[in-house]
């Protein structure tokens, strides 16, 4: 039996409750519309970048001109006119970055408060340092001093280009080269800001680091770049959150995240992606084309991606691990929820190069409304990866009969001692479970939220506590209206 009409109605109603859709009234400064070498130079000049940085951007831009937009993902959208967008937008007066919170436009601070991310250190959740990126620029980075004492560098990538050029030169593009793929190459040319993190050897970062991305200006693409380096024996947990106003046109977000873990280092990267998904008819929403990749360069290093993807009209995202160091570990825990007309094509690549490398993939997809959700993944065991192990579990849940769920895993094994296991299931939201919950007094919407949270449990438990609670609520909200 298919989901009952009342169930479907309840999930659909949920689509109307995007809570971060307001616009901040603030004067912004834009680069001229469109994309050209001049725009790339404009962005670089705005940031007062050194020559080498501009050269890198220009190389990327010229390469990008020769590239084709990838067409293999199961997502369908009208041709993007890359000339019809602003590639740089910043609140007025950001020629010089505010030195302290007092210098930040109070309207901006209010925006982040409304989003539940107060930037004043007194008000912040203890133990979480935040880099707030608003359109193209980093507004403020909190707890810098405290982190500095531990030797941790946590700043905007623009600052890092100025203050830590050697490190940026060494690592930028070392995991995602500027010519990697269409979207990453575009990002390399026009990235405006983002976060830079360096954890020195043996340091366990004393607090969770977090970036909060906000697209505000209309017709503006956001192209942030994040670079995290965990030196030998260090540990960092990094959280990323994103929202955008509700607008009828689509906006482009093409980010690049590069992680480097050296010997015995561990990076835990968590994302709650809640970009505006568009309305019930599929108007508007963010096009989210993101390249995230981690390099486990050292022995015994570990990179763990956890993502909760509930937003965006289109998600194209494959956080991956290159397991180069012997005994290194890669993990990918993912929840992708699509409702109404959202489309998500997301998954991971686990590239096993070193000996005894292990990876684990747990992907949960929930499709409701008229949405399409695809898990796409690659597990590749190279000939030298003696003793490599992978376990993959992909489960899809369908709510209503107008949506689709797809699973496209690629598995390549070139070493006989490797053990690779992949399992996938697709099923509908169980009417039996729904009835059981309702018999105990839960209304349909709460029952769906509870059941879906149960379905996602294995992933949710990998999120840091503060995020997990937030994510659980988001799971319910994203599916509101899908069932009754």
């Amino acid at each position: 039996m298919s989901a009952r009409p009342e169930t479907i109605t309840a999930v659909e109603a949920a689509g109307e409750t995007y809570k971060h859709g307001f616009v901040t009234e603030i004067d912004s400064e834009f680069a001229p519309k469109g994309l050209s070498e001049d725009i790339v130079r404009f962005i670089s000049a705005k940031k007062g970048e050194p020559e080498w940085m501009l050269d890198w951007r220009l190389r990327a831009y010229r390469r990008w001109l020769t590239m084709q937009e990838p067409a293999w993902a199961k997502v369908d959208f009208p041709q993007i006119d890359y000339q019809d967008s602003y590639y740089y937008a910043a609140p007025k007066g950001f020629g010089t970055r505010p030195k302290s919170l007092e210098e930040v436009d109070p309207e901006l601070l209010r925006t982040y408060e409304k989003l539940g991310i107060p930037l004043s250190e007194r008000m912040l959740l203890a133990g979480v340092a935040v880099d707030a990126v608003f359109d193209s620029v980093s507004v403020v980075t909190t707890f810098k001093e405290k982190l500095h004492e531990a030797g941790v560098i946590f700043c905007s990538i623009s600052e890092a280009v100025q203050d830590h050029p050697d490190m940026v030169k060494k690592y930028l593009g070392s995991v995602v080269p500027y010519a990697d793929n269409f979207h990453a190459t575009l990002n390399s040319a026009v990235f405006s800001d983002g976060t830079f993190v360096y954890i020195p050897p043996g340091v366990r970062c004393p607090m969770e680091l977090s970036t909060y991305f906000r697209i505000n200006a209309a017709n503006t693409g956001q192209f942030e770049r994040t670079l995290i380096i965990a030196d030998k024996g260090s540990y960092v947990s990094y959280l990323e959150g994103c929202t955008a106003p509700m607008r009828d046109e689509n906006q482009l977000h093409a980010a690049v995240v590069e992680l480097v873990a050296l010997d015995d280092a561990e990076i835990k990267y968590s994302t709650v992606q809640n970009w505006y998904p568009g309305d019930k008819e599929g108007r508007g929403g963010i096009y989210n084309f993101v390249t995230k990749r981690g390099l486990c360069r050292g022995r015994n290093s570990k990179i763990s991606w956890t993502q909760v993807e509930t937003g965006s009209a289109i998600t194209w995202k494959y956080p991956s691990c290159i397991l180069q160091g012997d005994n290194s570990v890669g993990e990918f825990y993912s929840i992708a929820i699509t409702n109404n007309h959202q489309q998500a094509d997301t998954g991971t690549k686990m590239i096993h190069i070193g000996r005894n490398t292990t990876s684990r993939i747990v992907a949960k997809g929930i499709s409701a409304g008229a949405s399409q959700s695809t898990y796409r993944g690659l597990v590749s065991i190279h000939p030298r990866a003696e003793g490599a192990r992978n376990h993959t579990q992909c489960d899809s849940l369908l709510i209503g009969d107008k949506c689709g769920a797809h699973t496209v895993p690629y598995i390549e094994v070139r070493n006989p001692s490797a053990q690779v296991e992949h399992e996938a299931t697709t099923s509908k939201l169980s009417e039996e479970q729904m009835f059981y919950c309702r018999q105990r007094g839960l209304d349909a919407e709460s029952a769906v939220a509870l059941l879906v949270n149960g379905f996602c449990r294995e992933v949710l438990q990998h999120l840091p506590m503060e995020f997990a609670v937030e994510a659980q609520k988001l799971v319910g909200v994203s599916l509101e209206g899908s069932v009754g």
Binding site: Q433, F435, R440, L450, G454, C456
Partner: protein, 258 residues
């Protein structure tokens, strides 16, 4: 006797186009325990689902009144909030949702519906643990996902735990004894008996009379081919146990005697 808690009149129910209940009449008053017995396929579980409001069952004739109110238009969660509890014959597994979490959501959803104050996590935990202790349900089991990986006995004990926590007015227990060994049966039977109060009624659906040694009924009914064909006291259950349901089955379904 006061006003009936449950009054079923000439109830006809179909599922997937097939008539299963063909005119059931039943009156249950507060404080009473009614046993409904009958052969497989006689419509016992259907009756329990219809009382709880499971989608997919069509009432083609007749009425169900609960505490003076027509039950039929209410969704399952409203019936639950008004005090109707169904102990499932096959309790459903809900992976990823801890039993304690589930109970908290259920209890508070019902309280909210009734306009009562919701209990905080600590309050729920205390209440659940107290009841769990009586049923020998360990704290570990409460952390495990609802019914997931539970043995048959654990599932049934967990159903009774939910009943104890949710404190319904009308409990419908569908084959609560199936799949239980002697010890588990006693535990469950004692658990249910402890919940007998003058303001609470129970309908105990069972195939065998052995459960009725532990939950002694006031009335026993035989449901056969979608109708209550006989009603009586405790002794009827014993008689059925001795002589089987042969007389209650259509002739072609009587097994040949060896």
């Amino acid at each position: 006797m006061g006003k009936a808690m449950l009054e079923i009149k000439n109830l006809h129910v179909s599922a997937e186009g097939q008539e299963i209940l063909r005119g059931v009449d039943l009156v249950v008053n507060a404080g009473e325990v009614h046993a409904i017995m009958g052969p497989n396929g006689s419509g016992k579980s259907t009756l329990s689902y219809v009382l709880a409001g499971r989608p997919g069952y069509d009432i083609t004739q007749g009425s169900i009144f609960y505490r003076g109110e027509d039950l039929t238009p209410l969704p399952p969660e409203a019936r639950a909030a008004k005090g109707i509890f169904l102990g499932f014959q096959y309790p459903v597994e809900i992976p990823g949702v801890a039993t304690m979490t589930f109970l908290k959501h259920a209890l508070n959803a019902q309280r909210k519906w009734r306009g009562e104050e919701e209990l905080d996590a600590m309050g729920v935990m205390k209440l659940v643990q107290r009841e769990a202790g009586k049923l020998k349900i360990s704290a570990d089991m409460l952390k495990r996902p609802v019914n997931t990986g539970f043995s048959g006995g654990e599932k049934k004990r967990c159903e009774i735990l939910q009943m104890a926590v949710l404190q319904p007015l009308l409990a419908v227990l569908d084959e609560t004894d199936s799949g239980l060994d002697v010890d588990a049966l006693r535990l469950v039977g004692d658990g249910v008996s402890a919940l007998r109060t003058p303001d609470r009624a129970m309908i105990v659906i069972t195939h065998y009379q052995r459960l009725l040694d532990h939950i002694v009924p006031d009335f026993v009914h035989v449901l056969s081919q979608g109708k209550i064909t006989r009603s009586g006291g405790r002794e009827l259950a014993l008689e059925l146990d001795r002589e089987g349901y042969a007389g209650e089955q259509p002739p072609e379904r009587i097994p040949a005697r060896a």
